[in-house]
């Protein structure tokens, strides 16, 4: 008896139930407390009770920016493509790379600062999303997967072979972003980068939530469940698939721009196929389609390899085994999407 209740227990529904009972005031307070806790994360390593979070080798504050913050941001972006509209994208790193190289090229050759490059980098990523999406999104399922995988490799190989991108050695000396409100962005203040990434994450969450309850969200849901039926019901599937692809690309591009100005040196081997796979793993591990699950999954998968660095060489091995084990224990991820959506998913299968 107890086993069966445990099996049917869905943390996401449980949380949503509590949330529904609260009134506006309680919700506001809860969100504010949660937000301030997250915003205080950079100082967690220095405070006694939470100092177990501290990471060996790379400093905790840097780990929070990359990989943790960046992976959460990118996983949320990829979740729009994979989770919301059900398109398998294996080359998401391409958009990250395009954002990073826009920052690299525009700042070192033309002296633009990060905040000026940000919209341009997002634009470049979106444009490449359209260029890739127009032919690729006519294909389905695993054919789309191989085309996007190929695109990811193409972007990396082009970066490896062009002069403007510095070839295999990449671009060095990318300037940090200029400060504002007295916040300085340099190697001494990684927490400021974290807050910028956090702001982008919140913006993305807000955007995704708005989309989900409006026409595009409903169209994506219909496409994910059954594309033929969606088309029959008058959804312009290509346009909406393209939109989800392009919005996902925009988030990846934004992450790339900030990443490049944080690490100051970029090279093609930072944008390998493994990154795409890792971000996809974050999405599926956390709970595909559910933003809170995705954010949690990405934080864990990005943080875990840094935390277990004391295992040295075997940490990636442990990481792989954790992935297998977790997927076998919770195939729908840590925080699965709403039950309603899950049932229809099974029905469609």
């Amino acid at each position: 008896m107890r086993m069966s209740t445990l099996k049917n227990f869905n943390l996401r529904d449980f949380g949503a139930g509590i949330w529904a009972q609260w009134n506006r005031g309680t919700r506001t307070i809860f969100v504010l407390v949660l937000l301030s806790l997250v915003a205080l994360l950079p100082f967690a390593a220095g405070w006694g009770p939470t100092s177990f979070l501290n990471t060996p080798i790379t400093s905790f504050q840097n780990v929070l920016v990359y990989p943790v913050g960046m992976f959460v941001l990118m996983a949320l972006g990829l979740n729009i493509v994979v989770g919301k509209s059900g398109l398998l994208d294996l080359g998401y790193v391409a958009f990250f790379a395009i954002g990073a190289y826009s920052q690299g090229v525009l700042s070192t050759f033309y002296g633009w600062n990060t905040w000026e490059v940000l919209p341009v980098g997002i634009g470049c990523a979106m444009l490449s999303g359209v260029l890739l999406g127009l032919p690729a999104l006519r294909l389905r399922g695993d054919y789309l997967a191989i085309i996007t995988l190929g695109f990811g490799e193409i972007v990396r190989i082009v970066a490896l072979n062009l002069n403007v991108t510095g070839g295999p050695s990449g671009i060095a000396g990318i300037p940090n972003p200029p400060g504002f409100f007295g916040l300085k962005f340099d190697i001494m203040n990684p927490q400021n980068f974290f807050w910028v990434v956090l702001a982008l994450i919140l913006l993305t969450i807000w955007m995704v939530r708005r989309f989900t309850v409006r026409r595009p969200g409903r169209a994506w849901e219909a496409i994910r469940q059954d594309e033929d039926v969606a088309a029959l019901m008058g959804v312009n599937t290509l346009v909406y698939k393209l939109w989800s692809f392009v919005i996902g690309a925009a988030v990846g591009g934004a992450a790339g721009v900030i990443f490049a100005s944080k690490v100051m040196v970029i090279s093609p081997d930072m944008f390998k196929f493994d990154v795409s796979i890792l971000i996809l793993a974050c999405v599926v591990f956390g709970g595909i389609g559910n933003i809170w699950g995705v954010a949690l999954g990405a934080s864990i998968l990005a943080y875990l390899p840094e935390r277990i660095r004391f295992l040295a060489d075997s940490r990636q091995l442990v990481f792989g085994l954790v992935l297998v084990l977790m997927m076998n224990l919770r195939p729908d991820g840590l925080l699965p999407r709403k039950k309603r959506e899950k049932i229809t998913e099974k029905g469609a299968k």
Binding site: D142, I147, G150, N161, F273, A281, Q316, P331
Partner: protein
């Protein structure tokens, strides 16, 4: 751009492309067979290939005790040792493929999980194998002993018919012929085809699905093992991440031919091998993979299910 090689070295390139392409098509069977039955990309297959190359190497060095740098073997001993390496590699790969299925797929399938969950679980196995072998074998890679003296049958139209490359062409053709016969004629082969058409109906007809799936992984492992043997014999070295490029190429080959289709994998591998050789000769090897992917996109736009694929109606994530 160097178009003159197309006339001066055409046959030589075509021959090398043929040998490379047939190795690809053997590995791509590990993807396409599994895809046909489970509708899943078997991401761990690239690591099965990697383990195969190391099993050939370790078998030759530690069990057959052939030191690296020894003169090549001849006569009966050569044939026996080659056969032993081939069989050893095929058995290791087949067993590993079956274990991968048990660890990464079976439980998830029994629970009716999302296809992506299986994908990530397979990727987890793949990462674990990759990192495990990089710890055991070191990051620098290993040189395999030279069993086979690489003599040439002679030159025809500028192409040098080296024994190892001839072997890499003849052996896959034999394997494909046998496999084709097996899948179309034998009872077990028919049950594989039945499951790939409809799992539900096959169950109703009394087919043991789990046995068929194990068999499918086993066959994919066997062919991947043969490919690993050929790769190690031709290139005489291996490294822990050798599976990565091979896996991507083989998966591309499978998609090019029409994934889930046996003959498609054969022709897809051939086409890919040729294309890679000609593209790297004409454009330079750094643009090789870009050419391959551009051609793949164009082919998929004209024929959305690959060259030999049938309509895949129900594929989605």
């Amino acid at each position: 751009m160097n178009f003159s090689v197309l006339t001066s070295q055409f046959w030589s390139l075509a021959f090398q492309g043929l040998a490379l392409g047939l190795i690809y098509s053997l590995v791509s069977l590990g993807y396409t067979m599994v895809y046909g039955v489970l509708r899943l990309i078997n991401f761990a297959n690239s690591e099965v290939f990697m383990v195969g190359t190391f099993s050939v190497l370790y078998l030759q060095v530690y069990i057959l005790r052939i030191p690296i740098g020894d003169p090549a073997l001849h006569g009966i001993k050569l044939i026996a040792y080659l056969a032993l390496s081939l069989i050893g590699s095929m058995i290791v790969c087949a067993l590993l493929a079956i274990v991968v299925e048990l660890v990464a797929y079976r439980r998830l399938r029994a629970r009716g999980a999302n296809r992506l969950a299986s994908l990530i679980s397979a990727i987890g196995v793949s990462i674990a194998l990759l990192e495990g072998f990089s710890m055991i074998t070191g990051a620098r890679g290993k040189i395999a002993p030279r069993l086979l003296d690489k003599w040439s049958f002679g030159e025809v139209a500028g192409a040098n018919f080296r024994i190892d490359q001839v072997m890499a062409i003849v052996m896959p053709i034999i394997i494909f012929f046998l496999l084709d016969q097996f899948v179309t004629k034998s009872r077990l082969g028919k049950s594989i085809r039945a499951v790939s058409m409809s799992e539900e109906n096959s169950k109703l007809m009394g087919i043991d699905i789990n046995r068929v799936i194990t068999l499918t992984f086993c066959i994919g492992g066997l062919t991947t093992g043969a490919a690993a043997f050929l790769y190690t014999t031709v290139y005489e070295n291996t490294v822990f991440n050798v599976g990565f490029n091979m896996g991507i190429a083989a998966f591309t080959a499978a998609v090019l031919g029409g994934i889930g289709n046996l003959r498609g994998a054969f022709y897809g591998g051939l086409a890919l091998g040729m294309l890679e050789q000609f593209a790297s000769a004409v454009l330079g090897s750094q643009w090789k993979s870009i050419t391959v992917f551009v051609v793949l996109v164009v082919i998929l736009l004209v024929k959305p299910n690959g060259l030999f694929g049938e309509a895949v109606q129900q594929t989605r994530t």
